[in-house]
Symmetry: C2
């Protein structure tokens, strides 16, 4: 009988709070001394360089297509190969990094490892199109209450997975500074808008899925179009957004920057944490047939948002937790979002990104944006050091973390998604 939770020969992968045990193996891309980034996978405190490993002879039994994908600068080629090759590679890597690997194999793998600490990450995927959804009913309700107290949820919400096209060019990697945008802002008291820096800089806690290519994808096949997930911060300038968004939706209030975490956790690593979608409250309509699935399509993923201000960092105070949430609370699952997105014939390309929209929960402390937490800035939040916030100030860093955990199973972590608000003149 095989060991249900095999260990790695790399000790750091077996420590209890490690985000990257043998069961995770998240993908990334990182800068090397050569001209081009390499792709790799996270294991314990290290990155395994897939480009280097593909040249050791250990991938001989894998096809040339997989070896070639491992030498690409992004994950797109691997995503394009489909589920079979990606599984085969994962199996091979799991074996090579486990205690059942042969000593000769371990000797070949070791020189392809490098520490995560000090690594300079690159965008793991070249993202053709980025679509952002609105799949958390608690978020939609919280926001709706602020703008339409008598009709917080619009009549289409429970039928249509609402979404919009995001801006792919301004997707930034975790750690890149987020420059406070300027834009047209109209205060209620003035007749005309003025062009000035946003006074309502906000974050949105999201999870995003990298997908395979396809169109007219049936709901029962949608699962295999999911490649992996990352954390995503959909930075938002609320004042710019509220003046511009009618009638065509958010545009410059969002397009200045979107941050993604560097690690892509393979959908296979999340298998033990798949759960049925939260059941719809009595009275809610059943999804239309093209969105109905009986498979467990949600993910039990615990999420946390932290803030550190410049003063907090100066005083060496730890990050302050602003909220928690769980991905399983979404009203629409990723397979539903994929089926919906392609139902009109729209083609997804390998590596396209689909984001959940802000993830809020039904209980106190689970609001995924400052808009919700401070009630559009009317109820300031007080930090442990006495500072207050309505929206983000310059120097504020927002950190997202996420992980799956269950007794008897190893923890699967997503790594950090970070961004610090800066002013343009400092560039």
């Amino acid at each position: 009988m095989p060991n249900p939770t095999p260990k790695s020969w790399l000790p750091s992968a077996n420590t209890p709070h490690c985000d990257f045990p043998l069961q995770n193996l998240p993908y990334c891309a990182f800068r090397t001394e050569g001209m081009h980034p390499h792709i790799g996978i996270g294991i314990g405190d290290s990155i395994l360089d897939l480009n280097k490993l593909s040249r050791t002879g250990l991938f001989r039994k894998l096809g040339w297509d997989i070896r070639s994908a491992c030498r690409s600068n992004t994950l797109n080629s691997l995503i394009e190969l489909g589920t079979g090759p990606a599984s085969l590679l994962r199996e091979t890597l799991t074996h090579l990094l486990s205690t059942s690997a042969m000593p000769a194999q371990v000797d070949k793998v070791k020189p392809t490892l490098r520490p995560i600490e000090g690594a300079v990450f690159c965008k793991p995927v070249s993202i053709g199109d980025y679509s952002d959804f609105y799949a958390s009913i608690d978020h939609a309700t919280n926001v709706g209450k602020l703008f339409r107290p008598d009709e917080p949820l619009l009549p289409n919400y429970k039928y249509v997975p609402i979404g919009y096209h995001g801006r792919a060019s301004s997707i930034r990697l975790s750690g890149e500074p987020i420059i406070r945008p300027s834009g047209q802002i109209k205060n209620r008291s003035s007749e005309a808008p003025e062009f000035c820096p946003t006074a309502q800089m906000d974050y949105e806690l999201e999870v995003a899925a990298y997908v395979r290519g396809g169109r007219w994808i049936k709901i029962n096949e949608a699962e295999r179009y999911l490649f992996g997930i990352s954390l995503l911060n959909d930075w938002s300038a609320r004042d710019i957004q509220s003046w511009e968004y009618q009638p065509l939706g958010p545009f410059l209030g969002k397009s200045f920057a979107t941050t993604i975490s560097p690690w892509v956790v393979p959908i296979e690593a999340l298998a033990p944490y798949r759960v049925p979608l939260a059941s719809r409250p009595t009275g809610d309509p059943t999804p239309l047939p093209y969105l109905t699935t009986t498979e467990p399509s949600a993910i039990d993923l615990h999420l946390e948002v932290f803030l550190t201000t410049q003063s907090m960092r100066g005083a060496s105070l730890p990050p302050h937790q602003l909220s928690t949430a769980n991905l399983r609370d979404l009203y629409w699952s990723f397979p539903q979002l994929i089926a919906h997105h392609t139902s009109n014939g729209c083609n997804l390309r390998p590596g396209d990104l689909l984001a959940s929209g802000t993830i809020s929960g039904p209980t106190e402390g689970t609001k995924g944006s400052l808009l919700e937490i401070t009630q559009r800035g009317t109820t300031p939040l007080t930090l442990p050091n006495g500072e207050t916030r309505t929206f983000l100030e310059d120097g504020d860093e927002i950190i997202f973390q996420g992980h799956c955990e269950r007794p008897g199973l190893p923890r699967i972590g997503l790594g950090d998604c970070r961004g610090t608000v800066t002013v343009k003149k400092s560039l």
Copy 2:
């Protein structure tokens, strides 16, 4: 004194109604017998193969960067080089194709020409992001009247160049069939939506600009970020759109397909047709300073929309003109759209596409969509053969054409932008 309108040694380029005289030289990409598309330029009835021409020795004085860009499969490399190299290439091509070219040069150019007839075009540019605006105030007013008779134009319209992110993956080339999309449609009489093919298939007459890369682009510098223009059909499923679009804007009602014409007319070819923006009506607010320019930034471009139905084609009837319009009637110019788009720090990449939004005019016969022409389907349109239309039916082909013309100057045409509505089952 140089000849103000020099001629080409290629006779077809000098005929009065030719879209592609020596003064146009629009770019395209086309399939060759080899594996990769080549880029080329249109002259008279021919395409000049830039890849082949770059190998004749005639480009010796141009830099290696220009020669290399001419051997690329798309225009992106040339766009990325900036205005200087693009002008230099244009000057060289103008000379080589003019009657002042030396016989030895002409002998080298001739073998790089091939007929336009029978050419299979490819997408001329790899489009990273596609943004669509709403820059025609007449269109915004026409549509607004249908949905909000008492407030056709929203309060932000005259201040903000309204736009949204479009879908880049589903941009199709002229001539590709447009498959009627299905989606959620909710009729007023029923409580719940159903999933079915759109019954309100529509087109939108637009012009799109390919741009160079940049961010925080000042209005007075925006002009040099324009590379060239094409025609664009923003196909729209009105019933899908009207149910889904609140609160985040159009999504699946648009993302099934967008058609672009194969030719990219260089912005330099349009110089003689640049005119000041239409003056704002008395009482309209002055644009904010970041959108104010004194340069002539509109383009006097005449546009036409034609329809042929299956029966019309069967009876060999000519296409029926549905409307005309002029690009100069836009409320916002392309330089304003560029300055606005990047004002928040959003980065444009070389080859990104910015579309005008539906172009309608202030007079009868200048409505750029069936939504406007048939008043949301309530006033059917009668065609010369007796057929009627509220929205498009299967087999209907929509053709856009556009050209600049002025006495004493050669006509600069954009070529056709075509698409025929088809049903999915026929695939």
